[in-house]
Assembly symmetry: C2
Homo-oligomer: 325 residues x 2
């Protein structure tokens, strides 16, 4: 097994070596804060790994990796404001620790700094395709967030719309970042596209797994409280699939739960999970997740580089995506 750690270490070292400006402190302290709350750093690490498929010296892609991580954190700061979320990774969100205006303005500055880091790449001749790729992902993330907001007040969300939304909101940034890594490493257009599709499919599979784990995960292993989506009446893939295949009576029961504010959490979680299990939703969700995962690996296989170069991407995908229910 090729180690994931060197990529993460290299990225964290680069972050440390590139602090933000000092003044005005009210603008830059929240940026330091959110960037240092931790997280798996999955997007920058997988960007570096995409580069490493084609070339050894992945340090060259570090500025782009940082750009993607800064963008991701910008989107967390603004999303947390929109979702009125008090906590992020167990710590106060930026708008909660400071205020909404600080969250808006620090987020804006972060978005600009993401572009500033793309400019730090040595080879400036690829700036156009790189920023084009970055912009596409960035705009799609905004569109995904808008669809997510729209879906909250719609009772007729189709499964294809939901899958498109999670693709835009969560997987295009991973995919776009990996594409950027491949472009910097001079990969051919065809290879770049396989890298993108690998990232895109891993991202969607990861989000479907997240939907699954939120209701059916092992409380000891799952980071968040199991059943949170059910309590919040979130229209996840599990619920949308259940509404699609349930008979009239079961559908009515489920809709009743989903349109009523939660009073007693545990009985509701149990009742909804029973309905979902009766419809074999856990299995169906896992099957769909596996389909995306398999498609991802087909794209990885299609990339014409030595097999051992792909091992670290297989390793990280296996670490992110569980194989058993």
């Amino acid at each position: 097994m090729q180690a994931i750690q060197p990529y993460l270490d290299s990225f964290l070292k680069y972050m440390q070596q590139h602090p933000f400006a000092a003044a005005p402190t009210e603008l830059y302290e929240p940026i330091d804060y959110i960037l240092n709350l931790g997280g798996k750093r999955m997007r920058p690490v997988m960007l570096l790994m995409a580069y490493q498929l084609f070339k050894e010296d992945y340090e060259k892609a570090l500025p782009a990796a940082y750009a993607i991580e800064i963008f991701h954190n910008f989107s967390l700061v603004h999303d947390d404001i929109m979702d009125v979320a008090p906590l992020r990774r167990g710590k106060p969100t930026v708008h909660h620790k400071w205020d909404v205006n600080t969250g808006i303005l620090s987020g804006d500055a972060m978005l600009v700094y993401a572009y500033e880091y793309l400019l730090k790449l040595e080879d400036t001749s690829k700036l156009h395709p790189l920023i084009k790729t970055f912009n596409k992902a960035a705009i799609e993330v905004c569109e995904g967030q808008q669809y997510d907001i729209n879906f909250e007040t719609r009772n007729d969300v189709r499964i294809d719309e939901y899958l498109k939304m999670i693709e835009l909101k969560t997987s295009v940034l991973l995919a776009g970042g990996m594409k950027i890594g491949a472009i910097i490493a001079d990969a051919s257009e065809e290879e770049v596209e396989h890298v993108y599709q690998f990232g895109r499919n891993v991202g969607i599979a990861f989000q479907l797994q997240d939907d699954y784990l939120d209701s059916f995960g092992d409380p000891k292993k799952f980071g968040k409280k199991v059943g949170g989506d059910i309590v919040q009446n979130k229209k996840t893939y599990l619920i949308l699939k259940a509404l699609e295949i349930a008979d009239t009576k079961t559908k009515a029961q489920l809709l009743e739960y989903m349109t009523t504010p939660t009073v007693e959490e545990q009985p509701k979680i149990e009742a909804v999970k029973n309905i979902l299990e009766g419809l074999r939703i856990p299995e169906l969700t896992f099957e769909l997740k596996n389909a995306y995962q398999n498609t991802a690996f087909e794209h990885l296989s299609a990339i014409k580089v030595a097999d051992e170069r792909k091992q670290v991407l297989r390793d990280i995908a296996d670490a992110l995506l569980i194989r058993e229910m």
Copy 2:
């Protein structure tokens, strides 16, 4: 007099020919709305004029002109949220017409689209210096907004700090846009710097004039309500200069007004204006504004192109900056 109108017409036509995406409508309608609220389009027009100093075919710079206008409107949308402003150009602000979340997210998308328009420039070899210039202005605008927020709760703002704040918040975008126009037109480094300094000094002069007109303008000509800054206890150049030169008693009087929420508007406006006039603040403000204006014109003179090429910039600066009190 060389006509300003062709530049404006050309820009407005380009805007019309480049509509935003259609879906999701909740994201793109607010963008259309704010971009079509009007305004002088001073920044994009002066970017085109900066290009035209060196080359005829200013249409080539239109994508960059639009990028600057989109960025400016992004900053208006987010600033209006932070300032809890209900109106912009006499119409409801985006967050007022829709909601705060819509304002945040549409603004974010606009910021990304600004970069997307910079990518549309024909000659991609200059992308690095262009985006570098754009980023510098964008980050400074964020920093300027932060200083402006900080100054609201500080009673010891120095005049040099205030001038720096208005430079960052309002003049660097005009200056940066003009610099971008000059870079696209292949101007030399020295000429680019003169163009930047022309824009920077015009911008500061314009803001000082705005401070002056807010209290001492002709109500028939001044677009906003005269005395608004005094009613809101805004620490403009007028007030800061007065606090600097007033004797102890007058200073105490002025501070009393400035730290008390306004109950009766007209008596307060009259009283503060009397204090300012007694200290010759209108004259001093106008003198400082003229100094920046003169510096701007010195930089314009120093640019080594035929004098008639500069006429349209003289015309627009004369239209923006009045010569008499």
